[in-house]
Amino acid sequence: MPDNHIIKMLDEKPFGSLGDGDIASAESHIAMCEQCKSAYDAARVAASLIQARTSETVDASPFFKTRVMAAIRERQLTPEEPSLVKMWRAAGALISTLALLMVTLTGITIFSQSPDSQSQTPIVAASQNLYSPEYVVLERGDVDDDELVNDQVIGTVYDVEDGDGQ
């Protein structure tokens, strides 16, 4: 029965997934075909081997277990760090960067204000400080000086007139 050889069927799908119909037709065929019988037996054994290999559980060696347990014990014995230290380790870089940035910005703010105030022109300063107490006092002083000068002039004039009248 060369047309009904089952070898292709055996290779097409896993042996375990063959249906009852497939098994029945295969067994009826191998009763007459020696070539397919050896292929069928080999496929069955191969499937058993694969299943055995799959279901095999690998036990860890005692040496491996000892090493794992030693590592766990070592970790447990290591003293735990305080939470602040942990926090500093986690966010230390960020906090340092922020502090540095803050100091830089403060410095820039302080040093950038002084030259600006010095570089203002007198007109602008006068317009800005028109009603400031300093301006009023200074202006008043100038006026006083002027008045003093005028008084002197008037006194001098009257003295002269008095002198003329005498």
Binding site: P14, F15, D41, L49, A52, R53
Partner: protein
């Protein structure tokens, strides 16, 4: 060692341990699988499987163990390996054939050597 022998290492009857032979014979005789459920039998079968599978290329082993062993769908194996589904199917087909042929050779040699011992 010949280059062809290096490329396609063959598993010979002399490589079988004292336990492998009886296991194969029991399988062929169709002895109830429940008798083979013990750890000892399972270990022998796993060792023998490892010997046979070591003759196959790594890709074939992967496909065989995934589809026939773990019973994963072709689609999952295709995703896992990055191959197309048709490539996985072709690989599985060829891997099954290689595995079957390796076991077939082993069984034939085993029966031959048993006949020689008997005579």
């Amino acid at each position: 060692m010949l280059r062809s022998a290096k490329r396609h290492p063959e598993f010979t009857v002399s490589d079988l341990t004292d336990h492998d032979g009886p296991w194969l014979e029991n399988q062929l005789a169709g002895v109830s699988t429940q008798r083979h459920q013990s750890n000892e039998r399972g270990r022998i079968a796993a060792d023998l499987a490892e010997k046979v599978l070591s003759q196959l290329p790594p890709d074939d082993r992967l496909v065989l163990m995934s589809i026939d062993g773990e019973q994963l769908p072709v689609k999952d194996v295709a995703e896992m390996t990055g191959w197309s589904e048709s490539k996985v199917k072709v690989r599985a087909f060829r891997a099954r054939r290689r595995m079957r042929q390796a076991v077939e050779k082993l069984l034939k040699r085993r029966s031959t050597s048993a006949d020689e011992k008997g005579s």
